[in-house]
């Protein structure tokens, strides 16, 4: 069967299943228009883009890397790169393990009904939009919000959480955990339910405690899933939730909340410096892709797992 397919010419392969290609048309039309045409649009990072002239007619930037050097000569460049990296790495350290721990603990609950209720509750916040989440943060953490009142009544001090720069990352990552813990745990829960009960039976006979079962059976067996998710997380490191960062931004916390992507939006769409903003965005995409490739290679070398 395989060799037959291989021998056939592309044309006859196409002719025999042309209907399948027809089914692909809407999605491919989308792919070309909204994914690959914008990729072509990236050339304006190297041009002096003028709306009237369009992409092709606009003159090349002189020097070629003008907008990249312009970006790196601003003080915001270093700051936004640093903010993006710190926020992403802190998210990775604090938020990535939470769904794994949650899945491991949930898996220990033996009553299926209880387990299901907890799981259902856990991913409800996934349906709550970023605007609502940031609104929740604003009302709950405001000066006379419930958090501050509780802190004061416990003898603490009133803190202006939403405007102090040192609280930005904590609130961002904390609310991220709240939003995505349940959703991200589903994959680990699925991996855990696939573990054969024989392992546990054997461990019980050997007198293993629950904690030992988690550490010596569950964790090693879901490790491949963990590594794959880690590579994927690394592949999005520079794309960290700019929508939420943008919503949480205010005059007093931009020193930590200005990310590369929020900066691109501001200089690109609010001040219409298209070429400059595209160059900054392109830098971000390339950096992101490089990190993904490195993470993939490291995983391949150390554990034989990779996504490509």
């Amino acid at each position: 069967m395989q060799s037959k397919v291989a021998k056939r010419s592309i044309w006859s392969g196409f002719k025999s299943s042309w209907q399948l290609y027809v089914l692909l048309i809407p999605a491919v039309a989308w792919l070309v228009t909204f994914a690959y045409y914008p990729l072509y649009g990236l050339v304006i990072a190297f041009k002096d883009y003028q709306i009237r002239a369009g992409i092709l007619q606009s003159p090349w930037a002189d020097p070629f890397f003008k907008y990249f050097s312009q970006f790196f000569s601003t003080s915001i460049a270093l700051q936004s790169i640093r903010n993006t990296l710190v926020l992403s790495l802190e998210s990775l350290v604090f938020a990535f393990p939470v769904p794994i721990i949650f899945a491991l603990l949930l898996n220990q609950i033996k009553r299926d009904k209880v387990k299901k209720v907890i799981q259902t509750i856990s991913y409800a916040p996934y349906f709550v939009s970023n605007v609502v989440v940031v609104s929740l943060i604003t009302v709950l953490f405001s000066a006379n919000g419930v958090v501050n009142r509780a802190a004061v009544s416990l003898g603490g001090q009133e803190t202006l959480f939403t405007s102090l720069p040192e609280w930005f990352r904590g609130l961002f990552i904390g609310s991220n955990i709240w939003q995505t813990m349940g959703f991200n745990a589903v994959i680990f829960i699925a991996a855990l339910t696939a573990i054969s009960p024989e392992y546990y039976e054997a461990a019980t006979i050997d007198g293993a405690t629950r904690m030992q079962k988690i550490l010596h059976i569950d964790l090693p067996l879901i490790l491949p899933t963990i590594i794959l998710m880690l590579i994927l997380a690394a592949g999005n490191i520079m794309n960290i939730g700019y929508e939420k960062a943008f919503l949480m931004q205010n005059g007093s916390n931009t020193v930590v909340s200005e990310l590369i992507s929020t900066y691109v939006y501001k200089v690109g769409l609010q001040t219409a410096q298209y070429s400059f903003a595209t160059a900054v965005g392109l830098f971000n995409s390339i950096a992101n892709f490089v990190i993904l490739a490195i993470a993939n290679q490291v995983a391949k070398k150390t554990s034989n797992l990779s996504i490509f």
Binding site: L23, A27, V28, F34, P38, A124, F127, L247, V264, Y265
Partner: protein, 292 residues
């Protein structure tokens, strides 16, 4: 089954941890709901609420009378319905085609899709694309750029790969069924689960869209709910909603409650639909996990 003492302690601690987690997840949402119905004088003391201590519905009265909010609600519903339909038309047939191992070029096409998950043109080129297509400031600027989610496409393809046995296709072919016939008459009726999953994923994403709206839309009367919500709650425009005749203090009191009302109104539809759809949801995420 007998349990050792250590295991029992583990269980108790585990249950307490899980109960606390559930509380942390639910309480903020529950609090907002309560605060939207409770006298703002009580809410503004900042004490934790557990039930409605003193009913106060002026917030909802004012909210219901505020037309821009309802215009945006209507817009969001239209965007969500149209967007979900467009996305289904683009995603489901393509996912089926890509699940067919006998289609030449399948791997290459799949790669072309997957690549865009990791490398994209970014904000500005996409914005310029939308401008040059002439769909800026129209419903299509909300619907088309997010028309296909490659993640959803992969989830859907995995479903067809594992859910439709190859013998079925072979049997149908012997009966003279072509690819269209098989897809429309056999594959789709057998795939209501995945279609429900796709509806849920796409509708949620559409309902919650915010950033694309501020980038690709211009007119106030076209803005979706999330944008109006942000203006009211985060940009503090809710004071505009109170009637001008009110005394200053009464207006401030109301302005506080309005925020809770608007948040509750915008989060409620999805959260209420969710318990009924959640079994599809788990299925979809798990499917995506297996092959993703």
């Amino acid at each position: 089954m007998r349990q050792s003492k250590g295991d029992m302690i583990f269980n108790i601690v585990n249950i307490i941890v899980m109960a606390l987690l559930c509380l942390v997840i639910i309480y903020p949402l529950y609090y907002v709901l309560l605060a939207s119905f409770t006298d703002p004088d009580i809410v503004s003391t900042g004490k934790p609420l557990f039930w409605i201590e003193k009913l106060y519905v002026k917030g909802y009265e004012t909210t219901l009378a505020y037309t821009p909010l309802w215009t945006s609600y209507k817009n969001t519903i239209i965007y969500t319905v149209v967007g979900t339909i467009v996305s289904l038309i683009a995603t489901v047939p393509a996912a089926y085609a890509l699940s067919r191992k006998d289609m030449a070029g399948r791997r290459g096409i799949m790669f072309a899709f997957t690549f865009t998950m990791f490398f994209g043109g970014g904000i500005i080129p996409l914005y310029l694309t939308i401008r040059s297509l002439g769909i800026y400031n129209t419903i299509w600027a909300m619907v088309l750029p997010v028309g296909v989610s490659v993640y959803n496409l992969i989830v859907c393809r995995s479903f067809f790969e594992s859910g439709l046995p190859e013998e079925l296709l072979e049997a149908a072919k012997i009966d003279g069924c072509d690819d269209f016939g098989f897809f429309f008459k056999i594959a789709i009726p057998l795939s209501t689960t995945i279609i429900a999953v796709m509806c849920l994923f796409y509708a949620t994403a559409m309902w919650n869209q915010f950033f694309n709206a501020i980038m690709y839309l211009q007119d106030d009367n076209k803005m979706p709910l999330q944008v109006v919500l942000r203006n009211l709650v985060l940009m503090n425009q809710s004071s505009l909603m109170g009637t001008s005749g009110d005394a200053m203090i009464a207006r401030q009191k109301l302005a506080q409650q309005l925020k809770y009302c608007v948040v509750a109104l915008s989060a409620a539809p999805l959260l209420m639909a969710y318990p009924f759809l959640q079994k599809y949801f788990t299925k979809g995420v798990t499917l995506g996990a297996v092959k993703g």
